[in-house]
């Protein structure tokens, strides 16, 4: 016992029970301590650190040169780009197409308003402590209606309040967001329903959910999009026109709902039986038990999986190009076929990559923040 006391307090002795808290030895905490522990803790680690520094020194300057120092930012065609770096003039000139596709310029204010409405609709869903949350939630609930009429219009002809803009004219980031947001919003509740159905005691419900999930998960999204755009019209009666974008939205939503269902089922299975028993013993009905006790915990556990599915869905929206819708990536491809800008694929793809990344990274950070916020100190 006395050995331990001595080794803890070199050169100093305290009577038992009166040992004060001492500061840690120098060099084990703070910046130097961190460097020593993390970057130079052993010879292999030191070699790796030096290699990494070398790699960064060699690779970063050329990238910065291309992106900024030797790049051209203005011009009317690629012949105006004379320096060695990127030709961002392309983005400058074609920005509207990247963002909105072929949406008529005169009506673009509707897209801006819709964007604002969307932003206001998202806020109260993401954060529970913002002011006027109830009013904003009403806006959120109305979003499918307001968004639809704002973007697609109320009718054609001079009398119409908002002129119709056909969905083939929608494109770029606008289209990506329409598909992404709709898919995200629709797939979560459908996924919950499918997950509950798959765990149901009722054989018919269970069989239907299992069949749906396994079928949809078993085929590529492209197949589903093709079927929705090429095959569905074959089965519809003559003269019935079913908007291609709408079919695509349904296809994307159902596709990601199947994945979502399996993610959520994982969460449901992680909830101990005791939670069901305690809820039942207190007299909660099945739906109240699910809503109040099981789903809040199950969904919290699988937040990383849910957001993972969302991110996958958001990027999968680029597959709609295959059925002739020009989303952000589709526009990036199309723009560089213009004779003025031909061959500028680096710039075009880099630009849309940054946009995708910003949205996906945002979702990722939000999920981390939400996990931390919902963590209530229980270990599982």
């Amino acid at each position: 016992m006395s050995d331990i006391t001595q080794s803890n307090a070199p050169g100093q002795h305290y009577p038992p029970g009166e040992h004060p808290d001492l500061p840690p030895p120098p060099g084990t905490v703070g910046a130097i301590g961190w460097l020593r522990n993390n970057l130079f803790s052993s010879i292999p680690n030191t070699i790796l650190t030096l290699l990494a520094i070398y790699f960064l020194v060699v690779s970063i300057p050329p990238v910065l040169d291309w992106v900024y120092f030797e790049a051209d930012f203005e011009g009317a065609s690629r012949t105006d780009c004379t320096s060695a770096g990127a030709c961002w003039a392309l983005i400058d000139v074609r920005l509207k197409q990247y963002l909105f596709g072929l949406y008529p310029s005169d009506e673009l204010w509707r897209v801006y308003v819709a964007g604002l409405v969307l932003a206001l609709a998202v806020l109260p869903v993401l954060f529970d402590k913002i002011p006027f949350r109830k009013i904003l939630l009403v806006n959120t609930l109305l979003l499918p209606i307001t968004g639809f009429y704002l973007l697609s219009g109320t009718g054609s002809g001079p009398d119409a309040w908002l002129t119709t803009v056909e969905t083939p004219q929608w494109g770029g980031l606008l289209l990506t967001l329409v598909i992404g947001v709709t898919g995200i919003v629709a797939s979560l509740p459908i996924g919950v329903a499918l997950a509950l159905g798959r765990r149901s005691n009722m054989p018919v419900v269970r069989a239907m959910c299992v069949t749906f999930i396994e079928f949809v998960r078993g085929v590529p999204l492209i197949t589903i999009l093709f079927m929705s755009s090429v095959m569905v019209p074959l089965f519809l009666p003559e003269g019935v026109n079913f908007d291609k974008l709408l079919r695509c939205l349904i296809g994307v939503s159902l596709f990601s709902a199947a994945y979502m269902a399996e993610v959520i089922r994982g969460g449901l299975q992680a909830i101990p039986k005791g939670q069901y028993e305690a809820a039942s013993a207190m007299g909660l009905s099945f739906w109240k038990m699910m809503y109040l006790i099981i789903l809040p915990q199950a969904l919290r556990i699988v937040i990383p999986g849910i957001v993972n599915t969302f991110i996958g869905l958001f990027k999968d929206t680029s597959l709609v190009l295959i059925i002739g819708l020009f989303d952000l990536l589709g526009i990036a491809k199309t723009v560089i076929t213009d004779a003025n800008w031909i061959g500028l694929s680096h710039e075009s793809y880099a630009f849309v990559a940054v946009i995708y990344w910003v949205f996906c990274f945002g979702m990722s950070r939000y999920s981390i923040w939400l996990e931390a916020k919902l963590h209530t100190g229980h270990k599982r």
Partner: protein, 259 residues
């Protein structure tokens, strides 16, 4: 020690029957877990059920609020018979509170929310009133200062006391305890037992599956010994401990009282 609880028999009340189990059988698949259980619990009666693990004691009390389904016989709680009828099950569950070995608090809700959830959503009590009632019971189990915390931040003993308060918030007429102290350290067992003794003194009808023989001696009106899915023996605590009838009971008691 032996007679800390004043047993008042109010005429007409103590005779009233709270729970009646008649010829109840239960199987898990082919396995016959409960065999011909017959038990009548008077209102206000405190029963301790003991027996080796796997003897069916937990299963029996879990049948009383239908966490387990019985296949034969009758269970009548508060004059309501437990059948497949969901209304009956709900009615019985509203009257019967239960505490579990592993507490089963809801980890995503605060202590207070754990206590007010069922009153608000099942009994439709207004939120403010439910919180008032919850604080009253948290006071009774002596942890009102933990109301805003989450279960994960409490010790096992505190969690079990919250679980008891949570059940009491539904103002049940019957309380079931399924090995409430088995998952606890010795010092925490004492604090939970104390709360249970206090509860017993209020005249609550209680069925406790427990191995706490001190508790049984102190508060039980009747001790039931189960083995192999059957009720082997039942008696008043004094008689049960001092003069066990069956060989199996004697063996069991000698094992658990030996240390």
């Amino acid at each position: 020690m032996s007679d800390a609880v004043q047993r008042v028999s109010t005429p007409g009340v103590s005779d009233e029957v709270a729970i009646q189990i008649i010829g109840m059988h239960k199987w898990y698949g082919q396995f016959h877990v409960l065999k011909d259980i017959n038990l009548t619990v008077r209102r206000g009666e405190r029963i301790v059920v003991c027996g080796p693990s796997g003897s069916g004691k937990s299963t029996m009390i879990r049948c009383i609020n239908r966490l387990e389904e019985h296949q034969q016989g009758q269970i009548i709680v508060d004059d309501i018979e437990l059948t497949g009828n969901l209304k009956n099950i709900d009615a019985i569950r509203r009257e019967v509170g239960m505490c579990f070995q592993h507490f089963n608090l809801f980890p995503h809700l605060t202590v207070l929310e754990n206590c007010t959830l069922a009153p608000i959503w099942v009994r439709k009590v207004p939120k403010a009133q439910a919180e008032e009632i919850a604080m009253e019971f948290l006071n009774k189990v002596r942890i009102p200062e933990q109301a805003a915390k989450y279960p994960g931040q409490l010790s096992g003993g505190q969690q079990q006391r919250v679980a008891i308060a949570r059940s009491l918030c539904m103002s049940p007429r019957i309380m079931l305890f399924d090995e409430p102290t088995s998952a606890l350290d010795p010092e925490m067992i004492a604090e939970v037992l104390e709360v249970m003794v206090n509860l017993a003194e209020t005249g609550m009808t209680m069925i406790c599956v427990t191995h706490e023989m001190g508790f049984a001696r102190k508060v039980a009106d009747r001790v039931i010994f189960m083995d192999g899915g059957e009720i082997i023996e039942q008696n008043e605590p004094e008689e049960f401990f001092n003069n066990p009838q069956s060989e199996r009971t004697q063996q069991f008691l000698s094992q658990i009282l030996a240390h």
